[in-house]
Amino acid sequence: MHREPPAGAAPAAKEPGPGGLPGLALIDLHKRFGPVAAVDGVSLAVAEGELVAVVGPSGCGKTTLLRLVAGLEQPDTGRVLIQGRDVTDLPPERRDVGFVFQQFALFPNMSVAGNVEYGLKRRGIPRAERTRRVQEMLAMVGLAELAHRRPDQLSAGQQQRVALARALAPRPRTLLLDEPLSALDAAIRVRLREELRETQRRLGITTLLVTHDQEEALAIADRVAVMHAGRLEQVGTPWELYDRPQTRFVAGFIGRGNFVDGRVAGDVIDFGPLGRVPKAAVPGAGPLPDGPVQALVRPEAVVLQWPGAPAAGAAREEAAAAQGPAGSALVAAAVIVDVIFGGERSLVQLAVHGRPWIAAVFGAAVHAAVRHVGRPVTLRVPPAALRLLPPA
């Protein structure tokens, strides 16, 4: 479990996708702008037809990474391979990539059809074929009747569809999307992201998407790469990133959670006032040497017990857990501060030993939690739900 953060990305580059050669391979890319290392040793393999989302806070270098793939920036060192062919030294127009820009960058001096046709024209495709392909693409994104409009007469959502149609029209081998949905309203964003995913799947095109929105990345990507300060912290399926984050940054950036500090001592891990658990009961703890550790607890792993439930008084139980032999769970007395209603799942804000915690509650428990706002409850975390992180 405990790997060095940058190495977390490297093995992925060596695993080709199911189709043999990866559709896109980045090998140890470096790019500096003056004193800033925007991209600092990134390796990544995207399987043929796979959609990988690069997600990270603004300024982490993810857009630069995308521009390196497109050839809009030249790497200081490192290679870019598309279907096994080294394109590092090729200019953008010869890389055969489709690129969708954040603000869409539609040519204002051309009609919608003219925009979609542009890439076909530059590739010397005959007129009849071009016309056919433009109609096909516009029909695909549902804008056939707007072919003669000018881009500034379209809504943002329509502009986004035109940008996608334009990028896909020349049938590129790779699709690159730079925050393709960030210029849209929340409601249309969710719909377009599903459309985007469906189109990508149908065409089976290798796709690299860059976004700052982790929810968007988790929702549509086959795999997600978390980028931080120019490096890939972890690459994996959405579930892997959520369930087994390998760094503190990934754990905090993907999903929500509670962090507890502990210490490995022999065959137990001591979490202070929350109690001690057997080392063997915590996944991945086996090889850890003695010393400090940090664990992540996802909100849905927190079990709440209301007072009056079968268990004994929380304070007594907690005292027993902290002093006695390693127990079966972390236990703490908590006070419910507030409940954030969220439909099928609500979040309970707790105060545990003066620190904020969150827990997820479902169904009827939501009602119980609301009734207990401001009152003490008992909180339990089974050791199997603890996710150990390398010390910060």
Partner: protein, 560 residues
């Protein structure tokens, strides 16, 4: 609701008042009266003389030559201005910030100074020909040819085209060019399909403006073209000052105004078009002109531009410092500082420097107040473009300066007698600078989001307070540029000053002119150097102040 609307309208009218007063009394009435003389005969008013002009082969020949030299000059201005605009918008090179802040200096240099620089540099024994002879063994005759006129016009208007090209290029969103690249377009196709359509309106409006200026040009043609070449403006001057045929001169000036106003209208139409569609989401990153072979032509271009623009100015500086007996001397400057009143020169040189600075400060202030309030009223209270009103505000650059000066000299003896002597020349200069203030300030104010004003008012600021706290700081850099431009235009204005100034109101360019008439080339050069120092210094100061303001605001002015 009704009272709020009335208040809005009252404010708008109040703001339009200074501009309306300035243009009506110091421009439209005097010029209109002067031009009307062209339509007057014994029986009253008739277009007969005007029509006769259009069938006169001599006048048609003049018109043809005037348009032809203006066309050639505009073409050369584009050939020089577009590469310069490209460099300023896209590349970084040593001395760029200096070049960027001083690029408009040639544009406000008095024609007489430019002519002087060209005489010294391109004369048969000028250093340009000496270098040519040394390198290649031949000389070229530049002076007293059409090419001298065209080159000098390009010296003036190249920077203008460069500025407008630079503006359009800086607005172009780099993502548009990049998306064309990813769609398979090579660098040439990107230029043809994206870059050119985006910068073309900027280049064209620069070219049209250059055409207007060259069409009206007068001292350059007179001093560099020699006796063989005459334009409409030279003919108007000759008719008015030598032949004293005011009616003919007025009819010709009316004809000229029709042509140039037509082009001014074309200019405004062009300006209102496309470039905002290409507006940028992110700033362009200037690439350095590097040491690679591919950049060699850029270095060559930079060198050629430097020789072309700095050459004539440096020639004047060098000439002002040469000792007729050989060696270097500051004697000419010493004479300027000590010379007293003189029959040829009028007021002493020191006095002419004082006059220039005083007039320019006053003129720039008047132009700024009337121009800025005009822009403010049209942008904030009207909110849409008014082509007619804008053409009217642009008219001072489209009307013969000889006719303007004549009309004013009549008016100042008649209905405008009440205007104090010391205000007359600044008022005239303010009229001439007015269109530039409008052009410089409008885009800046349009860039300040009107919602910021609304936000300030919702937070409790009155309309005036909101202006002072929000708009003024954000638009201050635009006002500075407008002030520098007006100041420079006033310092360099020659024609009207020459015709209107009393002996004690001599200004620096008039003084250069008088020194030249007295064949004192060194004193003329020294005075011209001081003049360039004043205009260059004002531009440089404005740029420094603007940079300081931008730093102080921490870049917030660019956030909207």
């Amino acid at each position: 609701m009704g009272s709020a609307q009335r208040r809005r309208r009252r404010r708008a009218l109040l703001l339009l008042l200074p501009a309306a007063a300035l243009l009506t009394f110091v421009f439209y009435l005097p010029v209109g009266t002067a031009l009307l003389a062209g339509f007057r005969d014994e029986a009253g008013y008739s277009p007969a003389r005007f029509v006769a002009l259009l069938t006169d082969p001599y006048i048609l020949g003049l018109l043809r030559f005037t348009a032809w030299q203006a066309f050639l000059s505009a073409a050369l201005s584009v050939a020089i201005g577009v590469p310069l605009g490209y460099l300023l918008a896209n590349r970084s090179f040593p001395g760029k910030s200096l070049a960027a802040s001083l690029v408009m200096v040639p544009f406000v240099m008095p024609a007489i100074t430019v002519a002087l620089g060209f005489l010294i540099m391109y004369g048969v024994n000028g250093w340009f020909n000496e270098v040519l002879a040394g390198l290649f063994g031949f000389k070229v005759r530049v002076l007293h040819t059409l090419w001298a006129i065209v080159l000098a016009h390009a010296f003036y208007n190249g920077p203008l085209v460069a500025r407008m090209t630079q503006g359009a290029w800086e607005r172009l969103d780099p993502a548009l060019e990049e998306s064309a690249r990813t769609l398979g377009a090579g660098p040439f196709a990107v230029f043809r399909d994206v870059t050119l359509p985006a910068v073309m309106p900027g280049i064209l409006s620069g070219a049209v403006l250059a055409f207007i200026y060259c069409f009206m040009s007068f001292p350059i043609v007179l001093s560099l073209g020699g006796a063989r070449y005459s334009t409409l403006e030279v003919e108007i001057f000759t008719l008015m000052r030598v032949l004293l045929d005011y009616e003919m001169a007025a009819a010709l000036a009316a004809l000229q105004a029709c042509v140039s106003l037509l082009f001014a209208y074309i200019f405004l139409r062009l300006e209102g078009r496309a470039p905002y569609l290409f507006a940028s989401a992110r700033a362009r990153r200037a690439r350095p002109v590097g040491g690679r072979i591919r950049d060699a032509w850029l270095w060559a271009l930079l060198a050629a531009l430097t020789v072309f623009f700095v050459g004539p100015m440096a020639s004047i500086v060098a000439h002002s410092l040469t000792d007729p007996a050989g060696g270097v001397t500051a004697g000419a400057y010493a004479r300027l500082m000590t010379a007293g009143h003189d029959f040829h020169l009028g007021a002493p040189p020191v006095r002419s420097i004082q006059n220039s600075l005083r007039f320019a400060a006053l003129a720039a202030a008047i132009a700024l107040v009337s121009g800025a309030s005009f822009v403010y009223a049209t942008v904030r209270f009207v909110g849409r473009r008014l082509p007619f009103l804008e053409t009217l505000s642009l008219a001072p650059i489209a009307v013969s300066s000889v006719a303007l000066a004549y009309g004013l000299s009549v008016a100042f003896r008649g209905p405008l007698q009440v205007v104090p002597q010391d205000w007359r020349i600044p008022l005239v200069h303010a009229v001439l600078a007015f269109p530039f203030v409008v052009r410089a300030f409008r885009p800046v104010l349009q860039g300040v989001d009107a919602r910021l004003v609304e936000a300030a008012r919702l937070l409790g600021a009155g309309r005036w307070r909101a202006f002072v706290d929000v708009e003024l700081p954000m638009a201050a850099t635009g006002l500075l540029v407008a002030f520098a431009l007006s100041f420079g235009l006033s310092v360099s204005e020659t024609t009207a000053t020459l015709m209107l100034a009393r002996p004690d109101q001599v200004t620096m360019p008039v003084s250069v002119y008088r020194f030249l008439a007295a064949r004192d080339f060194r004193s003329a050069s020294a005075m011209a150097v001081l003049l360039m120092a004043v205009t260059g210094g004002v531009f440089w100061l404005a740029e420094m102040l603007a940079a300081w303001l931008r730093r102080r605001q921490g870049g917030t002015a660019h956030a909207s």
